[in-house]
Symmetry: C2
Subunit: 218 residues, 2 copies
């Protein structure tokens, strides 16, 4: 994509960092992406308004349609350039840095619970939000979304396989199935928090999730 080429080119030349208040295409584009991500997180893609993003960023129609050909393309860019990295940083990369499969997962679970700020509590998981909203509505969104889920599933399944090889995890269980189950459960719990507006659901159900994780030990 031309966008990425442009971005890489500018990153390498890197004469932009010092000019914050003047014109800077990369900063402008990123501001739009970040704001759109926040708006989608709260109101969904359908609830996202181009005008709303412009108001929040202080930009204009001219700026927006210079960087994005349509609202839909903005949606795609938010998934590729903001949502996917977010999921990696928050959920996938941590999986890859785990030593002991079970201990690590339980630790990760606790961290996730503690990091649940009051704000995040009722916004839910950005990936799951978009999944639930856009999967039945737009195929171009669905394929991008499903690719991220697949990467997540694979990373978790690999962690479990690794655990099996190290005899930390029961050899009888199927890593792919357990990975699907764990991610579905996590997302289900986070989704419940959204309507209860409290982390009580997380604590209550999380206790059972921890029990389940313990039951996976070899």
């Amino acid at each position: 994509m031309t966008v990425d080429v442009n971005k890489i080119a500018c990153d390498t030349i890197d004469k932009s960092a010092d000019k914050l208040s003047t014109r800077n295409a990369d900063v402008t584009r990123q501001k739009i992406l970040d704001t759109a991500f926040e708006e989608i997180l709260l109101k969904g893609y359908q609830g996202l308004r181009v005008d709303g993003v412009l108001k929040k960023t202080g930009l204009t129609k001219g700026a927006f349609y210079h960087h994005f050909v349509s609202k839909k393309e903005l949606g795609h860019a938010v998934i590729d350039e903001v949502l996917r990295p977010w999921i990696y940083e928050r959920w996938i990369t941590p999986l890859q840095n785990i030593d002991h499969s079970i201990d690590g997962l339980i630790e990760l679970l606790k961290e996730a619970r503690d990091e649940m700020t009051a704000c995040e509590l009722h916004t839910g998981c950005p990936l799951n939000n978009l999944t639930q909203e856009m999967s039945p509505l737009d195929e171009s969104f669905r394929t991008r979304i499903v690719a991220i889920w697949d990467e997540w599933h694979q990373a978790l399944a690999e962690l479990l396989e690794r655990g099996q090889r190290l005899e930390q995890v029961k050899s009888s269980l199927k890593p792919k199935n357990v990975a699907r189950f764990l991610i579905a459960t996590m997302e289900g719990i986070i989704g419940q928090c959204k309507c209860y507006m409290s982390d009580e659901a997380f604590y209550d159900a999380g206790e059972c999730l921890q029990d389940y994780l313990e039951s996976l030990r070899a």
Copy 2:
């Protein structure tokens, strides 16, 4: 509400069933509700268009705003009069008719899986859809939604307590927590099916869910 009074009155008199093509306020109202429910299921409340409902039902603005003061009130009515009964029929009442807690839940799970038609597969659970979309956006929706979740949680917790009294279920576990966990997991799995557009996710993760249910036996 006057609406309910009107409805009850007409139901008891019951001179409406034979007049299908002529004027009938109840039939009209119900047609709007049912169509709106379908539309919300597919596109969400924000994606629901009053005009769209009218087009599908063959009605007009006059008819719509005779029965509902606003789109929002329609949303409330859909929750109260369509969604809630749907959840009861599909999920809550079956819980109350279970003899053996664990066996019954496993059976219910299998039934749910088999009843997952190709259509339902990518529409997901109507209650969870609305929860994820509307909880952060509108308090009047959230409170109605959370009430339904509470009823569901309570029914499942009661089933588990009953199981404990009958020594079918481990006495050590906390019914409330397990109920929260099970519902969250079910919804998480259904949500995953939505983007994969297949029941594979249901089968894979469902296997683990069944294992978990087995582990609850006394």
